[in-house]
């Protein structure tokens, strides 16, 4: 049984001008200990996906269709109290900006211990011990002192380590990390990513890594989902997606990365920008920016299997069909 199973998930935000769908038809599953990357531009719905798993989408958003199953149990029908036994306990979340994630008026120790006390019947002293141990796991120097300090006394990298330590407190089965390194300096980014990878591997924790950094995805995850305008447009093994992207959008993202050894050339960029959710083109949402778009793109593309990947693109569908025909002709 998969650890997490997301089926036909749809999230909509009820606005005055009508409901806007921030996520549509999201399908994926995650095995125990598996790490999956979710990439896409800002506004693609990556963060909403992360929050919707824990049913924490801010108002007026709500899950309007589909289901999220955790260890085979639907999280949709849980009441608030039962949902809290999952949050922070079985599924932990790490946020983007460590400067904003920790409460400025509570000590690090308070913020760690309260999480343990919310889920376990243990004494404060025992909770403090566990907190200390987790701080050591995330390699924070002099953890004993940190427990009594306030967030503003620590650097950004240090705070993100503490946020990660809070995530690890209850030894969760799944961590959802929403751009955990975006707000940090580049050298710290690499350290934090390495630390997360190591901790996930050691404790066999599954990871959903939400990011727009393809470099980080290739370093950490086994599988990748590429999102565009609220839909998954390509998913498959990370190395296949990085080295042999099928969808024109994914290709565009990868071509836009600076490469070592290529000097003096302009980076290629995808023309235009992602449409607002209220103005998504009919059919394939990417069609208005795509170099290969044609009449057929007026219809929403189905997923086509291409190698190890699933791709939602008419062009890829045709190419795959052609090569299959050729293979059959050659065989005949």
């Amino acid at each position: 049984m998969a650890l997490l199973d997301v089926k036909n998930l749809e999230v909509s935000f009820g606005l005055r001008s009508g409901a806007v769908k921030a996520l549509r038809d999201i399908n994926f599953s995650l095995e125990r200990g598996e790490r999956i990357g979710v990439v896409g531009e800002s506004g693609a719905g990556k963060s909403v996906l992360g929050f919707s798993i824990l049913n924490l989408i801010s108002q007026p958003g709500r899950i309007s269709a589909g289901d999220v199953r955790f260890e085979g149990k639907s999280l949709q029908n849980l009441n608030d109290k039962d949902m809290r036994t999952i949050r922070g306990n079985r599924i932990a979340m790490i946020f983007q900006d460590p400067m904003m994630t920790l409460n400025p008026v509570l000590t690090i120790g308070d913020q760690m211990i309260e999480c343990l006390l919310a889920h376990r019947q243990i004494s404060k002293a025992a909770a403090r011990k566990i907190a200390l141990q987790k701080l050591m796991q995330v390699q924070i120097p002099s953890p004993e002192t940190r427990l009594d300090q306030y967030p503003h006394e620590l650097s950004g990298g240090m705070r993100q380590r503490i946020v990660i330590a809070i995530g690890l407190l209850m030894d969760p089965d799944l961590i959802i990390a929403d751009e955990p390194t975006t707000a940090l300096d580049v050298t710290i980014q690499a350290e934090i990513m390495e630390l997360m990878l190591e901790l996930c591997e050691r404790n066999n924790v599954a990871l959903i890594l939400i990011t727009h950094d393809l470099g980080v995805v290739s370093q950490v995850t086994q599988r990748t989902m590429v999102m565009y305008a609220g839909r998954v447009i390509e998913q498959g093994p990370t190395n296949e997606i990085i080295n042999d992207a099928q969808h024109p959008y994914t290709q565009g993202l990868i071509n836009a990365l600076p490469q070592m050894g290529v000097r003096g050339e302009r980076l290629q960029q995808i023309r235009g920008s992602m449409p607002s959710l209220q103005a998504i083109p009919k059919g394939c949402a990417f069609s208005n920016r795509c170099d290969y778009a044609s009449e057929r793109c007026r219809v929403i593309p189905e997923f086509t299997r291409s190698g190890g990947c699933l791709v939602a693109c008419h062009m890829v569908e045709e190419l795959v069909a052609q090569s299959e025909n050729k293979a059959q002709d050659g065989g005949a």
Partner: protein, 324 residues
């Protein structure tokens, strides 16, 4: 802490200096003191002689220095009406006024925090809308109207509450207060509600809007993701942050409330400083007016210092202890 208090003391001296100049200028320009001192039969020459003798014809600076020298020693002049030291007259009325301010503060804190928090957590509920509606109305009704309305309803129509006076005052730790007796408490109810009615709507709205902002913050979302109970999220994580700006505003408002007691005390015939002040103005009792201004200024400085101390305790990013 010590450095903070020293700094505060220096600021207080500056503030008190400015207040003393203002009050002295008022004293200097509020009619002719001789008219109060002598009768109509005294001739102009005799008046001039008396002015010279009293030093009223000396240059402004000289007179101010003389006034300041006495003031520093606690002598703010003698009340024309009571024939007693003005400061002593004022301070005798201070406990009654503080009773009012204290009672009103309790009402404000007791109602604004739960109502403001509720209105922030459930902005769409009927109660929230009612509270917000009433607070809009409350802000726009003048104090004396509230007071008269309350007296009409509870004293005249229903006859539950006395309509004026302070009742019997008792003593708590040697401090003269109406809180010590049942009669005093009954007399306190209406004036305290009246005084609180000015600030209460403001605080409800302030707490609500601050709280709503805090509830949108990342750390509240993170607290939810940690699986904490709503009670802990609302009343620890969110409320503690909400109260920071509220405490700052609160300090200033409590000071302002001392000034608002003038109206409340007048309507309820409450024997406090504000009532006395208004009488002093009518009698052109300048030393008393000056003493009132200086005492109120001092109360302002003291409350603000206390509030800053409390703020420092709540907000860890403010360092009162040690520092540079």
């Amino acid at each position: 802490m010590f450095a903070f208090l020293i700094k505060r003391l220096a600021q207080a001296i500056v503030v008190m200096f400015v207040i003393s100049i203002i009050s002295f200028s008022i004293q200097d320009n509020l009619g002719d003191p001789l008219r109060e001192l002598v009768g109509q039969s005294v001739s102009e020459e005799e008046r001039q002689a008396l002015r010279d003798e009293l030093g009223l014809n000396d240059p402004f600076l000289e007179r101010y220095l003389r006034f300041a020298e006495n003031a520093v020693q606690g002598d703010l002049g003698t009340s024309y009406f009571f024939k007693e030291p003005a400061l002593q007259v004022i301070l005798a009325k201070l406990p009654a006024t503080l009773d009012l301010v204290f009672g009103a503060t309790i009402i404000i804190i007791g109602f604004s925090v739960p109502l403001g928090v509720y209105a922030a957590i459930k902005p769409r509920s009927l109660l929230s809308k009612l509270v917000m509606g009433f607070s809009t109305v409350g802000i726009s009704i003048p104090v004396f109207l509230t007071a008269i309305g309350l007296i009409y309803l509870f004293s005249i129509e229903l006859g539950w509450m006395p309509s004026y006076g302070r009742g019997e005052a008792g003593h708590i730790f040697g401090w003269d207060t109406a809180f010590a007796t049942t009669d005093g408490l009954i007399h306190l109810v209406l004036p305290c509600i009246t005084l609180a009615s000015i600030m209460l709507p403001l605080f409800i709205r302030l707490i609500r809007s601050e709280m709503m902002e805090v509830l949108q913050s990342e750390y509240v979302k993170f607290a939810r993701a940690k699986g904490l109970s709503p009670t802990r999220i609302y009343f620890l994580h969110a409320l503690k942050n909400t109260m920071l700006p509220v405490i700052t505003v609160g300090g200033v408002q409590i000071g302002t409330m001392v000034a608002y007691t003038i109206l409340t005390e007048t309507v309820f015939q409450w024997p406090g400083m504000g009532f006395l002040f208004l009488e002093a103005v009518n009698r052109v009792d300048t030393p008393l007016i000056v003493a009132y201004l200086i005492v109120v200024g001092a109360i302002f400085v003291i409350t603000n210092t206390i509030v800053d101390l409390i703020y420092g305790l709540v907000n860890p990013t403010v360092k009162l202890f040690g520092g540079k």
